[in-house]
Every structure is written in structure tokens, then in C-alpha cells.
Amino acid sequence: MRLTFTVNGRQQEADDVWEGESLLYVLRERMGLPGSKNACEQGECGSCTVRLDGVPVCACLVAAGQVQDREVVTVEGLADYARQRAEGGCGTGACGTSLDDAKRWQSKPADGRTGEAGAFPQQLSAIQRAFIDAGAVQCGFCTPGLLVAADELLERNASPSDEDIREALSGNLCRCTGYEKILDAVRLAAARTEEAV
């Protein structure tokens, strides 16, 4: 089939797609977007979490045929998605993250000698900045899924309790951090948002 769907705010097409292949496969292998990670492939670990029509889902359990004409946001488009949300939507119609930009997307660390941050802080969403600042990233494999899930939590609950955070992120497994720094990061992002209001 020819698959047409929206990825990170831009319409994309892929040809010769088998309807039964997973959305995760389409994103990683056909679109060249490796941010969503492929781990358990059975909806257990959450490392492939993306937003499908706004709600977080495990991309490994979604068939390609199911995303026809629907909207997907991956971690590569998260910063732009968060910015649009803050600005109240896409007024110009030229929003979203192009596939080329998404493929090249990377978080450049601060300059090692000067300590100056590069251009990247402006390109990160609040939750991404908080993960870096709180030291919530170790090996990084679970991070994209956690970012998408945590961003959605803060979207619907700006001041989550620790219990809220634990429950909302229970579908995202991390084998490195012990979760404490991840909880710190979500608390930090929530606190910064409250300060800014």
C-alpha cells in the first residue's frame, strides 16, 4: 500500500508498505527516524512510545495500516510540538519538523571548554531540558519514550504528584537510572513551567 500519514506535523508518504508491518518499523526503517527505540516489541517497555492522534501508544503494537491518515509525533518532533502547544497552535501552516531536520536532529552538548550551551537549548522542549539538567539520562535507550510520555503527562497535568508521575511513566522501563533522576526531571519541568506562568 501507499501509506500517507502525518509525522511531526508534516504529511509523509511511503510506498510498498505492508499494512501489517509495525508503525515502529515504518518510522525507523522507512522514514529514517531512529529516535523511537525498538526493544521488547510487545508493548512492555515503552521505549517506542509515540503520540498517535495525540495519545501515547507503543508504536511496536500499531500496524502500518492503522496509521493511514492519522497523526504521529515522535521524539524528533517533540520540541516543535511543545513549542506549537505553547504558542497556541500553528498559525502559519508552516510548522512541524521536516523529515530532513528530524533525521539530523541531535542534542548538541554544551561546549566542553567554555561550558557555553550551543544553540540547542532553544531547540529542546522543557521536558528535554529538564532530563539533561536533572541527569535523567544514562544509556539513553529508554529516554525517547520517556520524553514523549512525560511531555504528555505535563500537558494534561501541569502539577503532577509523585504518584501521578509514577503511574504515568509505569509503562516506560529504565534499567539504568533506578528512576529517581527521571522523577526529578519531571518535577523540574513541572516546577519551571509553574514559575514561567
Binding site: W18, E19, G20, E41, Q42, G43, G46, T49, V55, P56, V57, C58, L61, V62, A63, G65, Q66, Q68, A149, R166, E167, A168, S170, G171, N172
Partner: protein, 330 residues
């Protein structure tokens, strides 16, 4: 995974007709269980008929004061619905106690009823399993069975039904609606799951090719004071090792009406009718709750590693009914 076809359907008759033409076709809801089983090779459909675009996604009050829940309503939307939370709080609690946010966002209530057991032998193609391959045997009885059934099982299968939602629906006398090529039908949830017997591979009384279209909850004033309590091996995102849905109406220290259902103890959500019968009209005391639980659990048949469930369920009955008594008399 076997290669399969995929087709979206947009009307119920079309969905039923499409499935009827292909004995190897399956309906696809959220896919959170079916797709897993396909990856494991337990399910090998030739065609998936995606029912999530069918006009079955609404939750509506019925004329008599009950609730009609469409089959494609997601678990997340069911748990968030104001009518559900107000009139059937245990149902919302049960749904939220299951799976993770990502899975609840996809999973549908029709699929929830039809999900398969999480018995490890069922999903392991290298092992015998009477549910997967009739007549091949049940290694759980001699093997890993700490989370297996204590009620209603047989020598052929001791697997439990994993649904949390189904436990609350069972307590509230839910009725399942379905559509077949010959027209619509209904099944009370109490008759929906078949006894295990020597046919554990036959799980529901749904006619072949039937599509679940919705669930109807009759008006249940007692359900407004209800609770779901789930015991699991970690705080979130795990299947129950024992759970209870309970509703209670207490006046002047006497039980006027009570609903009790157990999860993770049988091949289906277990309505504790004997306990309900003993409690109705009697004192709302911890002693009475314990005696009723004991009577219900007298039929329990345990295996070496799941006998703890009898004590667990007894304690859950006493704890939750005591809490509901306090809530009702506050």
C-alpha cells in the same frame, strides 16, 4: 510472524460479513494482546479486520438509568468518563489498575473481554497447553502456577482470566451485545465465559464470527459506593494475583445489598454469589465479611504454589467491605 492482510471496516454489517468469508480472519481492536500473540506465533490470522473505525465509540446513558458502552471505547476513555466515575467507580478504578497508559490508550473494551490468559505456557510454543493445542496437556499443574486458578479450574487447565475491567463488569451484571450475520444477540457476562471442563480452548459463548458491539450496565444504585482493589507483585503495570470489585449498601448496620466479584482466581471473572447471599440482610461486620468469604472460598482447590490466594481473597473481602461500610455510614 505470519504475513497477514489488513482491512479497515466502517460499518458493523460489513465487518461481520468480511469475517464470515474467512475462517482465518480476526477482528483487531487495540491489538495490545492479539498483536503480541501474533508475534509469539500463538495467533496466526490470515486477515485482520480493524474495527476501531466502527461507530461503536460512545458511552451513553440508557433510558432506564444504566449505561451503554460501545465496544471500541478505549480503556482510557472508559476510565475517564464522568458517568462511569460517578455511578460505577469500581469500574473506572479497575480499568486504571490495568496495564500502562500507552496500552490503555489503545486497548478497547470489546478486546478486553476477549483477551487471552497470560499463563506462560499458553504463550510458549515449545510447551504443551490444552488451551492452545487441545489434548496436549497442562504443564502448569506440575510447574509454574503461583498465579493460577483456585476456583472453577479443571485438570485440563488452571489458567486465570487477566482482565481487571471484567471483574467490575461482572459485579454489576453487565450484558454483552454482539452482531452476527444472522442478526444481533446478547449475553449476560455471567454466561459469557464457558466453564473450563475438558475444553479450555473454548472460552466464550459468543457465536462463531460474532462481533462484540457493546456492553450494557443495568442501573445499579448500589454501584455508586463501590471499590476495586488489586493486589500485584509491583505497584503498577502488573497483572493481578488477586483482585476484588465490591459494592455495598449498608443501613443501620445491616447489609441491604452487596456485590462481590473476584479477579485472578478463575478462568473468568468470579462472581461471589454465595458470599453475597450470606451477607444480604445480615450484619455489616468484619466477622460476617470473613464468614461470607470463607463460604465462597470453601470450593477453592489449590495447587502447591497458589494456596496463598485463599487467604489473600479472604483478607481482600474483609478489608474492602469494611472500607465500604465506613464510606457508606460516614
Amino acid at each position: 510472524m505470519r504475513e497477514f492482510g489488513y482491512q479497515r471496516v466502517f460499518d458493523v454489517p460489513g465487518a461481520v460479513a468480511l469475517l464470515g468469508t474467512d475462517p482465518e480472519a480476526r477482528f483487531l481492536g487495540g491489538g495490545t494482546n492479539l498483536v503480541d500473540l501474533m508475534k509469539a506465533g500463538v495467533e496466526r490470522p490470515a486477515l485482520l479486520v480493524d474495527v476501531t473505525e466502527l461507530p461503536l465509540g460512545r458511552i451513553e446513558a440508557t433510558a432506564d438509568g444504566g449505561l451503554r458502552i460501545g465496544a471500541t471505547v478505549t480503556n482510557s476513555d472508559l476510565a475517564a468518563d464522568p458517568q462511569v466515575r460517578r455511578h460505577y467507580p469500581a469500574l473506572a478504578q479497575a480499568v486504571l489498575a490495568g496495564a500502562s497508559g500507552q496500552l490503555r490508550n489503545m486497548a478497547t473494551i470489546g478486546g478486553n473481554l476477549l483477551q487471552r490468559t497470560r499463563c506462560g505456557y499458553f504463550a510458549d510454543l515449545t510447551k504443551p497447553c490444552n488451551k492452545r493445542v487441545p489434548g496436549s496437556g497442562c504443564p502448569a499443574i506440575e510447574g509454574e502456577h503461583h498465579n493460577h486458578a483456585i476456583l472453577g479450574a479443571s485438570e485440563h487447565c488452571v489458567a486465570v482470566h487477566p482482565s481487571d475491567m471484567g471483574v467490575a463488569l461482572t459485579a454489576f451484571d453487565a450484558v454483552v451485545s454482539y452482531e452476527t450475520a444472522d442478526g444481533p444477540g446478547e449475553l449476560p457476562l455471567a454466561e459469557f465465559y464457558l466453564p473450563v471442563g475438558d475444553t479450555p480452548h473454548l472460552e466464550t459463548a459468543l457465536p462463531s464470527g460474532a462481533l462484540i458491539t457493546g456492553i450494557t450496565l443495568p442501573p445499579n444504585p448500589v454501584a455508586a459506593v463501590s471499590r476495586y482493589r488489586k493486589v500485584r507483585e509491583r505497584a503498577s503495570y502488573a497483572f493481578a494475583i488477586g483482585s476484588i470489585a465490591a459494592a455495598l449498601d449498608v443501613r443501620d448496620g445491616l447489609v441491604r445489598e452487596v456485590r462481590l466479584a473476584f479477579g485472578a482466581v478463575a478462568s473468568r471473572p468470579w462472581r461471589a454469589r454465595e458470599a453475597e447471599r450470606l451477607l444480604t440482610g445480615g450484619p455489616a461486620s468484619a466477622e460476617a465479611f470473613a464468614a461470607a468469604a470463607d463460604a465462597e472460598l470453601a470450593a477453592a482447590e489449590t495447587l502447591p504454589h497458589n494456596a496463598y490466594k485463599v487467604t489473600l481473597m479472604r483478607n481482600l473481602v474483609v478489608a474492602v467491605l469494611t472500607e465500604l461500610t465506613e464510606e457508606a455510614t460516614r
